[in-house]
């Protein structure tokens, strides 16, 4: 995002000072530009997560449903679009969760793989409210602790509520619980068990 160097009006000033500066051990402005000086493109752009995709499969019928929480224009701007999770009562589901960067519709990035690569630093926590609506058990492991990219959900009686999904980044501090580390994602989705 570098813009042009000299503003038109101040050209004489620039030239004069340039002469002054050239004679000295002046620092230059190209220290870090080699990496990211193309307009609109930055090496760390991929960090953004805009979308959470929840794939829910009924273990008896094998019917698969997909629910999305997505905010492609990032913080602020347009409000996120949030699907309502609809489940049948007293049913078991196998669930997979995916994280995407859809900020550029022509180049959707899958962040899930990066979380898998560093699964010992990540934990996904699911909190049902009310608690008696849904029982979520993480079924995958980083070798020591659960991760939460895969889980089983058991629904109870018909009711409405919400599910909080939190992705924690816990480098060096992962202990299987949700409290340490920093919150990378914290979303709430409405849930209808009907």
């Amino acid at each position: 995002m570098k813009t042009k160097f000299i503003s038109n009006l101040s050209k004489p000033i620039n030239l004069l000072l340039l002469m002054l500066v050239l004679g000295m051990a002046a620092c230059t402005d190209d220290d870090d530009d080699s990496v990211n000086n193309q307009p609109g493109v930055s090496a760390n752009e991929e960090e953004l997560i805009t979308t959470v995709v929840i794939k829910v499969k009924d273990t008896l019928t094998d019917v698969e449903q997909t629910f999305r929480w997505t905010d492609p224009d990032g913080d602020g701007g347009n409000d996120p679009s949030i699907d309502t999770i609809t489940l049948a009562p007293n049913t078991f589901y196998e669930v997979e969760i995916e994280f995407l960067d859809e900020s550029d519709p022509s180049d959707v990035e899958d962040i899930t793989e990066e979380i898998e690569d560093e699964d010992d630093e990540h934990l996904i926590c699911y909190t049902s409210s009310p608690q008696t609506m849904l029982n979520v058990l993480r079924t995958d492991s980083d070798g020591t602790y659960e991760v939460g990219l895969e889980s089983t959900w058991e629904s109870f009686t018909a009711q409405n509520g919400s599910l909080k999904i939190v992705l924690k980044h816990q480098p060096g501090v992962k202990d299987g619980s949700c409290s340490p580390g920093e919150t990378d994602i914290e979303i709430d989705l409405p849930v209808f068990v009907q």
Binding site: M1, K2, T3, F5, S7, L9, S10, I13, N14, L16, L17, L20, V21, M24, A25, A26, C27, D29, D31, D32, D33, V35, N36, N37, G40, S42, A43, N44, E45, E46, E47, I49, T50, V52, W69, D71, D73, G74, D75, G76, D79, P80, D104, I111, E114, I115, D117, E118, V166, H169, P171, G172, S179, P180, E182, T183, D184, I185, E186, I187
Partner: protein, 775 residues
């Protein structure tokens, strides 16, 4: 010791005298003798002139410090200037024509005052406070804001322990302007966590100018100005220098600085100075734990070269400052839930309080600031003309705690937030002194070019052009002094903002007008009263217009508004000062009404993928500030001094429906200091002072619950103790030893003006020792 030759002779004068004066001894030397530190006149000073050609000539200055010697022959002179209470000093000068020379004398240590607060006599519209020589020595190596907070009414607005910004009368960032070596310091000033890039050891004087009325320094600084003024260069032949070192126990900081300056008798016109310094500090320790990753590491170099002639002076100044500032790892949070958890817990997590280390890891800031300045001054008989051309370059890189998940990109270790700002300024000043009437006119042109070099932009790329002009007139009439000044600033922004992955261009033009007047009256030899009134406007800053994004430390979203109106401030300040042999007092009372005050208005919550964040929008409102700063110094006996300083502030936002308090305003505070400074014949006991300081900071009770993330912390009090000793090894070599302990009782407290008050306690006990050698 150095002195500046202020005014030369008119060019025609010089030519005429040069022709006539070669063989005739009819030259005149005249001027004034003043105190090097506060500029006050030194009455009845003795001057002894010596030259190879003539005999010794002795004269005495009058009660105003004025002197005059007639019938001098052209040639080289040494002038020995002596005054009761001052070291006699020798000055060298070349006389080719009649000229005016101002001599400045250094006082003894025991004569130095702790904080000198004085309204500058030359401009009744300005209220200026200067950091005393003793305070400069005591705080050497501290950050700018930490040094300036010794001045009453000035606070340090901080982010953790090693990022601090000066705050004057409740204002900081966009409402404060720092003038470094005569040049407007251009950095990413808008950010609360962006500290000014000022070398903590530079051979300078610090001044704080309150109110927006000092129009010659800039427009739009509604809070005031901080002047970082290099001390005058050495004009007599030889090389002087200074070595300073310090060690602080709390964060185990060690720092050193070397300054050399000189002049050669072969080229007496040329004076130079070179400086270099570094600081290295590790994690700071609160009374109960270390704060991980709070180290700092900075270096600076600077030099200047000046060529002095009777009628002109040319100077080049260069400085480079680099710093690496660790940010407390426990203050880096992902979202509001994390922040609430941090506020709820009494102390930071174990993992963020592991122990001492000098290592700086992520998160940290890496900052480089460079200044190049060329200055040319032309002196006439009663007037002078000065041109200044400068270029500044500022790089700010902020590295987040988390590296990118993608290993390839993480390996590049690039900053998540990176800005560079390049700016040029050209200024011209003309001064005319007609004794009781003094004029100053000036104008300037400048540009700024801001480039965002990271994906996170928060503020956009922009170019700005600034043009300004000002005029000041000061008039002395008997016991009265009147001042009036006006200034116009024009700013044009060209903004390149990234919207939906495309750059969109916006343009803005603003004009800002400043008008200030002042009158002061000497009621007697001992007291003076002055009233200053001014009107000042400030154009919105780039962040107020265009900021967009998340503040990590405060878990809040901030949005600019490019339709904001400029601010207009109406300010009145009344100053009364009294000075007697046993007693000094100064009271300043001020009121400031700001129409269309630009502030962050809470605007509910915005839902993001990291949860809901409180949202703040930049808005115009009206605000009213009232304050009182009080300074009293008692000298009941010659060895003892007791000082009091207190600062009181009420700051409201004037909404139509309710009166809310402004956020982040300093709480009221009181400070007392007792100093023992024996004045004995015994060389061992002489030249030292011992002091004890008590500070009480009230809880900020005037807060707005809708805006505060957490309730303001409790009141606290601190004790500090110190010892200063001056050594004289020879006539040329002197040394100073300073020892002080801050937070003597190792109190646990948090400060409202620290943005990291949610996360950790302030620094615990800190013992500091510093030594400097002048040669």
């Amino acid at each position: 010791m150095s002195r500046r030759i202020l005014l030369g002779c008119l060019l025609i004068c010089v030519v005429t005298f040069n022709i006539n004066a070669q063989d005739s001894c009819n030259l005149r030397l005249f001027g004034r003798v003043s105190d090097h530190h506060d500029g006050s006149n030194l009455a009845y000073t003795n001057l002894l002139l010596e030259s190879a050609a003539s005999n010794r000539i002795g004269v005495s200055a009058d009660e105003q410090g004025r002197y005059e010697v007639d019938g001098l022959c052209p040639g080289n002179y040494s002038v020995i200037v002596s005054h009761i209470g001052c070291e006699p000093d020798t000055f060298f000068l070349t006389l080719k024509a009649s000229r005016r020379v101002e001599f400045k004398l250094e006082h003894h240590l025991e004569e130095l005052e702790e904080v000198e607060v004085s309204a500058q006599l030359e401009d009744a519209a300005v209220s200026e406070s200067k950091l005393s020589e003793a305070m400069l020595r005591q705080t050497e190596g501290d950050d700018l804001a930490e040094r300036l907070k010794r001045i009453n009414g000035v606070n340090s607005y901080r982010t953790g322990s090693n990022i601090s910004k000066p705050m004057i009368g409740g204002f900081t960032s966009n409402r404060i302007q720092i003038i470094n070596s005569g040049v407007e310091h251009q950095n990413q000033n808008w950010g609360d966590e962006h500290a000014p890039e000022i070398n903590p050891f530079q051979h300078v004087n610090y001044k704080v100018v309150r109110g927006a009325n000092a129009v010659k320094y800039g427009g739009g600084a509604l809070g005031g100005f901080v002047l970082v003024e290099p001390k005058p260069l050495k004009r007599e032949p030889g090389i002087d220098g200074k070595i300073s070192s310090l060690y602080a126990s709390n964060n185990r900081m060690y720092a050193s600085a070397l300054m050399l300056e000189g002049n050669s008798k072969f080229i007496p016109q040329l004076s130079w100075r070179a400086e270099g310094s570094f600081r290295r500090a590790g994690n700071i320790r609160s009374p109960n734990y270390y704060q991980d990753n709070t180290g700092l590491n900075d270096q600076s170099i600077s030099w200047n070269l000046a060529w002095f002639e009777d009628t002109w002076k040319a100077e080049v100044f260069y400085s480079l400052y680099k710093s690496e500032l660790g940010i407390f790892s426990g203050a880096h949070i992902g979202n509001l839930t994390d922040l609430r958890q941090a506020i709820a817990q009494e102390r930071p997590r174990e993992i963020d309080t592991e122990g001492f280390s000098y290592t700086i890891d992520r998160p940290y800031q890496l900052i480089t600031h460079e200044l190049v300045k060329g200055e040319f001054s032309r002196y006439f008989d009663r007037s002078s003309l000065k041109f200044t051309l400068s270029r500044q370059f500022n790089i700010r890189e902020e590295f987040d705690k988390e590296r990118p998940r993608n290993k390839e990109i993480a390996a590049l270790d690039i900053p998540e937030f990176s800005l560079s700002l390049e700016s040029y300024q050209l200024r011209a000043n003309y001064e005319l002194d007609r004794g009781d009437l003094h004029y100053e006119l000036g104008g300037g042109l400048g540009n700024r070019e801001n480039s965002v070099n990271s994906f996170v932009d928060f503020i956009p790329d922009f170019n700005s052009l600034d043009a300004n002009a000002f005029g000041i007139v000061n008039l002395k009439q008997g016991n009265y002094l009147f001042s009036a000044a006006a200034r116009l600033d024009l700013t044009r922004y060209e903004v390149n903002k990234l919207l939906n992955r495309e750059f969109t261009q916006f343009e803005h033009e603003y004009s800002a007008f400043t008008l200030s007047t002042g009158a002061s009256r000497n009621l007697s030899d001992q007291d003076r009263i002055s009233l200053k009134l001014n009107l000042a406007e400030r154009a919105p800053a780039i962040n107020e217009l265009y900021s967009e994004g998340l503040h990590h430390g405060t878990a809040s979203l901030e949005f600019g508004d490019n339709q904001l109106a400029k601010e207009r401030s109406y300010n009145a300040r009344l100053v009364y000062a009294k000075q007697t042999a046993k007693f000094d007092a100064e009271i300043q009372a001020y009121g400031q009404y700001i129409q269309d005050f630009i502030y962050l208005e809470p605007n509910g919550f915005d839902l993001t993928i990291r949860g809901a964040f409180p949202t703040f929008d930049w808005q115009n409102t009206d605000a009213l500030l009232r304050g009182i700063d009080l300074n009293v110094r008692l000298r009941p006996a010659s060895d003892w001094e007791l000082s009091h300083q207190s600062s009181w502030l009420w700051a409201n936002q004037l909404n139509s429906d309710e009166n809310d308090y402004l956020v982040n305003m300093p709480a009221n505070r009181i400070e007392h200091q007792l100093t023992y400074r024996p004045n004995r014949e015994n060389a061992l006991l002489n030249h030292y002072s011992v002091w004890l300081r008590h500070q009480y900071v009230f809880r900020q009770e005037r807060y707005d619950e809708a805006v505060e993330i957490a309730l303001p912390p409790q009141a606290y009090q601190l004790l500090a103790i110190g010892l200063d000793k001056e050594f004289k090894f020879s006539n040329k070599i002197t040394g100073q030893l300073g020892f002080r302990v801050e937070n003597l009782l190792n109190n646990t407290y948090r400060d409202y003006l620290n943005r990291f008050r949610f996360y950790a306690d302030e620094m615990g006990r800190d013992a500091r020792i510093n030594f400097s050698l002048n040669f």
